[in-house]
């Protein structure tokens, strides 16, 4: 076990207030003992509650350890300067899982920064972020969506879990504290489920690259279901695990699996996992998936799961209304043959034509080049600052 951990160190990083709550839950779980847990926040008091040693407060000299005040820009500023610390935290990990709640300041602004650090260090990254409750208001949702837009191009894998799904499956008389606790717990379970994907001892392989291939650069919504059962539940434990998984609040019911564009099913068990059980569980899962669903099933074993089985399902629904994300620097991830590349561009152009353009927030200016021969390239005036043409908002400082 020790050796395995050295081979593939998986770092789970909680960012922001809700991220820290999630990793606190996570570190309490015994299945998570092999994960290296770390935390980043701009708020000192929330970090104090966190048990892990591997933590730091971002930009203390500037935020005074008092949080971001829900301002995404502040979160971005704070973490952008801690790149070296983040890098130290991540180094020699083979996978990075970042968790947090979108809609606030630190996580929304900071997650893209962590993603870029990870990308630079060539560490694959999975972002498991929760989307705010609808009752938290439109403004939070807008911030969260902004965050998703920034994160999508830089993160290898982004799983967004809508908190609202929780309520759909919880009885209305659940105490509020318990509901939130359960939300954190479910995310923690989801993290374990996802981390199992890249575990060694993969008997049937469903790994990170599968996940990446399905999710990369596509705007999609995901749901995660995790169910586990132990030997005490009887011989039918796989069935019970499956049922538990289907009931798990972030999955959003069986219909999510039926209609999914892609579905990951991972079965994790101890050394006692039997072939019959595996067959039964995966076949049952297969029946649940719709005809058009791309199903990726995997199985692995781990001594920590002695006597237990755990089923993890990740459903992926592509957002069909949105075109492919076209981030500033994602093009290089693919080398398209020439003709194909043209086709992609043409498609993007078409999508752009159909979409109603946003009104520019900034006025366009040319500064010292105002009276010179314009430099036009492919219809763009190159004298206008790139950030204005790409509508990127620049923080002018104070």
């Amino acid at each position: 076990m020790e050796k395995q951990m050295a081979d593939s160190k998986v770092t789970v990083c909680g960012i922001g207030n809700s991220g820290i709550k999630i990793i606190s839950r996570l570190s309490a779980l015994k299945e998570a003992s092999w994960l290296s847990v770390s935390a980043i926040d701009t708020d000192e008091s929330s970090l104090e509650r966190c048990a892990t040693d591997n933590k730091f407060t971002a930009a203390t000299e500037w935020r005074n350890g008092k949080g971001c005040g829900g301002d995404m820009l502040n979160g971005q500023r704070a973490l952008a300067r801690e790149r070296s610390k983040i890098n130290d935290m991540l180094k020699d990990s083979s996978l990075l899982i970042v968790t947090g709640g979108l809609g606030g300041g630190t996580a929304t602004g900071g997650a893209p920064i962590i993603a870029s650090v990870a990308k630079h260090a060539k560490i694959p990254s999975i972002f498991i972020m929760t989307m705010p409750f609808a009752l938290e208001g439109h403004s939070k949702r807008r911030v969260a969506e902004e965050g998703v837009r920034e994160l999508l191009p830089v993160a290898d894998v982004l799983l967004c879990l809508p908190n609202d799904l929780l309520f759909s499956s919880l009885p209305t008389d659940t105490p509020v504290a318990a509901a939130f606790e359960q939300a954190d717990m479910e995310v923690a379970r989801a993290i374990i489920g996802v981390s199992e994907l890249i575990r060694c001892n993969n008997l049937i392989s469903a790994d990170f690259s599968d996940l990446r291939a399905v999710l990369h650069e596509k705007k999609s919504s995901c749901s995660i279901g995790v169910g586990s059962a132990s030997i005490d539940d009887g011989l039918n434990r796989c069935h019970i695990a499956l049922e538990k998984m289907l009931c798990s609040p972030f999955l959003g019911g069986v219909s999510q699996m039926n209609t999914a564009d892609a579905l990951f099913i991972t079965l994790t068990g101890g050394a006692d996992l039997q072939i019959g059980e595996m067959k039964k569980a995966l076949e049952a899962a297969e029946r649940l998936a719709g005809k058009k669903t791309r199903l990726i099933a995997g199985t692995n074993t781990d001594p920590a799961y002695e006597g237990m089985v755990q089923l993890t399902a990740i459903t992926v629904h592509y957002d069909k209304s949105a075109p492919l994300a076209t981030p500033a620097d994602s093009g290089k991830d693919f080398i398209f043959p020439k003709s194909q590349f043209k086709g992609r561009e043409a498609k993007e152009k078409k999508a752009a034509e159909l979409k109603q353009g946003e009104l520019p927030l900034q006025s366009v200016s040319k500064g010292i080049f105002i009276n010179t021969t314009p430099s036009i390239y492919e219809g763009k005036d190159l004298d206008i600052p790139t950030f204005q043409r790409e509508m990127i908002i620049i923080d002018k400082g104070n």
Binding site: F369, P385, F387, G397
Partner: protein
Amino acid sequence: MFQQRNVITGIEIGTSKICVLIGEADKNGNMVIVGHGEAPSEGAVVKGEIADMDVALDALTKAVDDADRSSDKEIDKDNIFVAVTGSNISFYQGVGTVLVRTEDRKITEEHVNEAIQSAQNNPLSSEQTAINSFDSYFLLDGVRRLRNPIEQVADKLEAYIHVIYGDRNRIRNFEELLHDVGFDEEITPVFSGVASAYGVLTDEEKANGVLIVEMGAGTTEYLAIHNYGILYSGVLPVGFEHVANDLSIGLDLHISVCRKLLLDNKLFQARMDDGKAFIDISGATAGISRKIPMNSIEKIIDLRMREVFKIIYHKLNEVNILHSLSSGAVISGGAALFPRTIDIMRNVFELPVRLGKPVDVSGAVTHIGTPRYSTVWGLLKYGDDLRRVMNTRENKSIWERVMGGFDNVSLPFMKTFSSLRGSIKF
């Protein structure tokens, strides 16, 4: 007369500086710098083109005087090379075909010459003029791609030549300016990108395939070279001034503050290394000190540079040149001094990128070994090469020189780009 010919003067009229360099070939034939003069352009040049002749004249006069004073050589009026650039400059690829009908089907100098001549049939309009021309490669029987086709057996020879041309009047402006300063003789214009390539590239790079990007203050020139032949060239009228302008607009700072910020590499680098969140800029408005987030500065610079490199990347990608750049890319020009430039370029092109500094510099003036002087140093190297071509023709008759056979390919100048007759004025 013959002695005098060894003195070469290179003049660069750039957006940030006007620079004059005088070089002389020593006994061993190496170029040695004997004089150097420089003056800031002060707005006389915008995006590589002369915007204010009067201011440019003043600056150039100062630079020429300085250069004259620092060397005790007279500037040789015959050997003046001026770097030209601007958005008007482009290139076309000429193709000339010759069928080999001799008995033994061996390609001779005459065949090559004929092919090149027919390739030079120029498609330019009357407003345009060719600046430099180089042979890219030769194709035998439509399949074999060679650098030197002579003595090869083939039925058909195709010569591909790369002609860099520009707007006649705008190029003329450069020459007029030099006439105003007092140079009466013929002035040879050289495309800045070509000059930089001469100035910084090694023979090995030129053989294996390399991309040179010269990012100056006003323009960015680029040149793709493979097997000693130019495959692609171009100018983008975007330079480091644009970066300064972007910063000025994006952060509400005065343009001079931004220029200073970009030039002061130490300050910038130190801030990045320390992981400081802010840079304090005082005196921006009424002496109030402002904290500018480093993040914003980096973002603005990164976006602009990335865009420039991406445009070049796409242009090269369209014609499938990127895969022939085995030696990677070289970045030169004033912008290369900025610490992030190489990283961004490497990131966009996914090629090894090195900093291009003038190669083989020697002489009294030693401080020119920085990327800022690549172009003007390259002019001297280009001039030196051209002089050697001329000298080898001294023995031939005028008629031979004009109609001239293809030069003996084993000559050292073939190690660099072989200059064709079109680039040599008689």
